[in-house]
Symmetry: C2
């Protein structure tokens, strides 16, 4: 069975794997987290693009039938070029997240948070405006949230203060919908809700990305026909697993099995 | 003139460059910050070791006469092997920092803070106990401090709270000396002092490392004989410079000139 290839700069993309497992339990998944070089969100566009192609090459070597870029930064920067250069379908998380936000907002004021690289790319603004050019969008980079999550400070007053600092201008501007534009952020859903109150919709890309994958598998007629059992999930990282893998595994209740370690330098370059 | 080669995972090692410039203005310096793959402090020992050799190779290609590992994580993990494998002298920051702390403490209670990888290596404990086996040492990883510094939140209540959380157990144990075991941390010197009070000595490795370099240049008779002018300082990064370079440049009052961008993948591997 050819797997669905999924990659992220680290472990955060497992939120997308979780959504794929729920929706498509019969599809084999090969996940690569580029933990040896994370984070992508603070690196330049050219470096993120190079890393994305190197990891995509590793997934092609695993005979992936489709690639899911489960990383907002890589989706924001490298998706168009990956789609152009690779011979198999490539799906990102930006378009599904933007579509969900555009559906969710009632007052047309949408907030977007993400890494510095994602926000600087303006990828969410572009995707949102393509859906509805009248949306009012306010975007903000929140570089500390990923380190706070990886430290495991999920319910913590230091994290709450950082969230308040980052989100206050978005609340002041009257948003009713917030796009969690980084695959780590769903792990802070409770802390966001506490600060924002129940009137603000929180949108993450995981479920919508999984729906986009389902649709694409059907369109391209590459969905598996063997639906009798739960298929294999393989997780490979470019560095040895650390404590954050356990935080994510527990938080997502995901059965991972043995975790492989792969070196991207050992694979031939795609271009 | 053969330069002193200096490297760090990022920009933090410029604190060591600053100390070298002050002490040895006539020595040319070639600095490499591995910003495309930073941070090292959250990565595994084998990955940090591989990166350290790749960057050392780049410095050898610049005809460096000595290599200064201006990164606590790389010093903690890769220094012995670098010293064994390379044909030129290699100096780290751990030994000079440990020597300074052992001199500074009056009550024999020394605290050490650093990245997760540095603290897990126990390199400071080993170096401190080699100097005085009766020292009482308490070490703590502080993974959020580097991201907070890179966000520029140097005097900030979020940072103060994170510092209080990390340092409280060290204060409770009665330390009178704290080793700032990461080249970023001197940028938080004021915030540390505010929490710890004036009774606790803050030790950073930069000055002591620069003294160790001076001594080694004399011993090996490789100090420059041209002492008539301030020599060139070249800074190369493996990714494009970002805002943190400006924070560091301003905070250190360091004249950097043009910053080069180099790709470690383009150099031949050392081993």
């Amino acid at each position: 069975m050819r797997p669905i290839g999924v990659f992220d700069s680290g472990i955060g993309g497992l939120t997308v794997v979780k959504a794929l497992r729920d929706l498509l339990p019969e599809e084999e998944i090969f996940y690569i987290g580029d933990t040896a070089r994370l984070p992508y969100g603070t690196k330049s566009a050219s470096t993120v693009e190079r890393y994305s192609f190197e990891i995509a090459d590793m997934l092609l070597a695993e005979n992936a039938k489709i690639i899911v870029v489960a990383c907002n930064t890589a989706s924001a920067i490298a998706l168009p070029l990956l789609q152009e250069k690779l011979s198999i379908p490539v799906v990102g998380v930006i378009q599904p997240g933007a579509a969900a936000a555009a559906s969710a907002t009632k007052n047309g004021h949408v907030g977007v948070i993400g890494t510095r690289a994602t926000i600087e790319s303006c990828a969410y603004e572009t995707a949102l405006r393509a859906i509805d050019k009248n949306l009012r969008i306010i975007a903000r980079a929140c570089p500390l949230l990923v380190p706070l999550i990886e430290e495991g400070w999920l319910r913590d007053d230091v994290t709450d203060r950082a969230i308040a600092r980052y989100l206050a201008p978005l609340v002041d501007s009257g948003i009713d919908t917030l796009v969690l534009g980084c695959t780590h952020y769903p792990l802070l859903r409770d802390a966001f809700s506490q600060f924002l109150g129940s009137e603000v919709n929180l949108v993450d890309s995981a479920q919508n990305c999984a729906r986009a994958v389902t649709q694409l598998l059907e369109e391209k007629q590459i969905a598996t026909t063997d639906t009798t059992q739960t298929a294999r999930l393989t997780v490979a990282l470019t560095d040895k697993p650390d404590a954050f893998l356990d935080i994510a595994r527990e938080s997502l209740q995901l059965e991972l099995g043995e975790v492989l370690v792969r070196d991207p330098a050992e694979r031939p370059r795609h271009r």
